[in-house]
Amino acid sequence: MLPMNHPDNLNEIRTIIAYHKRWDLLALVAGVTALMIAILTFIALFGSMVIDGMPRLTWEFFTSFPSRKPEAAGILSAWVGTTLIMLVTAAAAVPLGVAAGVYLEEYAPKNLITEIIEINVTNLAGVPSIIYGLLALGLFVYQLGLGQSILSAGLTLALLILPIVIVATREAIRSIPVSIREGAYALGATKWQTVSDHVLPYSAAGILTGVIIGLARAIGETAPIITIGALTFIAFLPPSPIQDQFPFVSFQWLMEPFTVMPIQMFNWISRPQEAFQHNAAAAGLVLVVMTLLMNGLAIYLRYRLRKNIKW
């Protein structure tokens, strides 16, 4: 055998390196191409929406009800509906999801039943959203008599994002080092003291991110909302939650009929007139911006809350 530093040996090594580096290049090209397809598709979609919808984005567009005249139509009832439904969704999904996540991580015994529950929770995230719609139609709308209301819609979407919140909660909790947890227990803390004083505060950033990502998904959901009976044309607002008379708050709005942004969009897209297409594009633009803002908020809050925590 030739010694390692023999010129023939070196040349052989260089040939092998050059050969393998070609694969590096190929992998790079393939990766960038795949990424570009995704990015360019998004830019093209977003760009055409901006071009079509931008001229319609005036103040009146946000403060007008839908109308038969495209130039007078707006998204007031849709964005108010979407906002109120998101409030209900968050109010229901956060406590349920966080409690379930904390239970599974901190309290549940590690046995077969827990494992089955865990697999089911993960699988729930993959159930088509229209199935949630059907479930909600039977349960909330008819069985519980909540009707085709904001409350029904909010609870439906809460169910839909529950697995996302649970999984995010568990992952955030799991990222807390064992040493911190043992530190609390070693001082004589009970399980609940450890959870409320340490586990929850330190995992708040992760939980919040999960909640916002869940809401960002819920905001675009159409199928389950149509299933439980959202209106496609609605020219009034639910009564305000804040009243000028005692007791100053009202929950009447929960039981009101509603529409949401994606349904308003769908409604306009299915109209034959060209002008309504521009309205749809403008509404779509608002929806995309709302989603991006929520994701941005998630990133910001994550950064803020995690700034003091290093491990």
Binding site: E182, G183, Y185, L187, G188, T190, Q193
Partner: protein
């Protein structure tokens, strides 16, 4: 070679604080501790030494029932705690009560991501202390006892993570001291620290021996010789030899202990 330096100005006490009787411990089906008998003397430092995997940390963690946090662990035998003669391993004794009486400092400094003040005050808070003046007084005392007060008195509101590694470990000691524990457990407290921080922790342990009973696990024999009054040598889950540190280090009775201490093994 002189490896043992007598602790200066410290008198040996023979008052028993705790007695370990026929202690067996199992991780599921695996027996990690075998039939251990030992004494812990009051206001003395007792060191647990032995090669890694010999069960010294497992033994230490029996004293504050840390093993109860994980499923399928179980104890046999007893650890009697004086003055009340209670077997702290008994299922009737709440592990939380045991942890309130016996504090622990861990291998890696593990301050909470809270302020310096809140870290030290946490043990008091979970005991229901709410009065600001009492909290402040006891936090200051604990920090003084942990030789950290002078360094942090002007920034008690700062995050504990901003302290250096050695300061963080002294903070953890202050946190454990704040509640006046009867025994303070140290699980290799200097293994994550540099030599200077290690020296300051060792000095602190020497200072604390007049105030509290200390049980320390260390993989560093010189450390055991420097800080402890009593030493227990463990091997494969068994207690091979236990006695006054000078006896163990100068004329051990057991051949295995001697081999380990002279560096022929381990």
């Amino acid at each position: 070679m002189q490896i043992f330096k007598p602790a200066s100005g410290h008198t040996h006490s023979t008052v028993q604080k705790s007695v370990v009787n026929k202690l067996n411990f199992y991780y599921g089906g695996y027996q990690a501790l075998k039939n251990i008998d030992m004494m812990v003397y009051e206001k003395q430092v007792t060191a647990l030494i032995g090669p890694s995997g010999c069960g010294k940390s497992t033994f230490l963690r029996c004293f504050n029932r840390m093993h109860d946090l994980y499923p399928r662990n179980h104890y046999e035998g007893e650890i009697i705690l004086h003055p009340d003669n209670a077997n702290i391993l008994s299922p009737e004794v709440d592990p939380i009560e045991v942890r309130m009486r016996i504090s622990m400092v861990f291998q890696k400094p593990n301050p909470f991501p809270k302020s310096i003040f809140e870290n030290v005050a946490y043990g008091l808070r979970i005991r229901g202390v709410k009065r600001r003046s009492i909290l402040e007084e006891r936090v200051e005392n604990a920090l003084r006892n942990a030789a950290l007060w002078e360094e942090v008195k002007d920034r008690l509101g700062d995050l504990a993570f901003n302290l250096s590694g050695g300061q963080q470990q002294r903070l953890c000691i202050a946190r454990a001291l704040a509640t006046d524990p009867e025994i303070l457990l140290f699980d290799e407290p200097t293994s994550a620290l540099d030599p200077i921080a290690t020296a300051s922790i060792e000095e602190l342990i020497s200072d604390l021996r007049n105030k509290v009973t200390i049980l320390i696990v260390t993989h560093n024999m010189q450390q055991a010789a420097r800080v402890s009054d009593y030493t227990a040598y463990m091997y494969m889950g068994e207690l091979i030899e236990f006695g006054a540190t000078d006896t163990i280090f100068i004329k051990p009775k057991n051949k295995q202990t001697e081999d380990y201490i002279t560096g022929r093994f381990g």
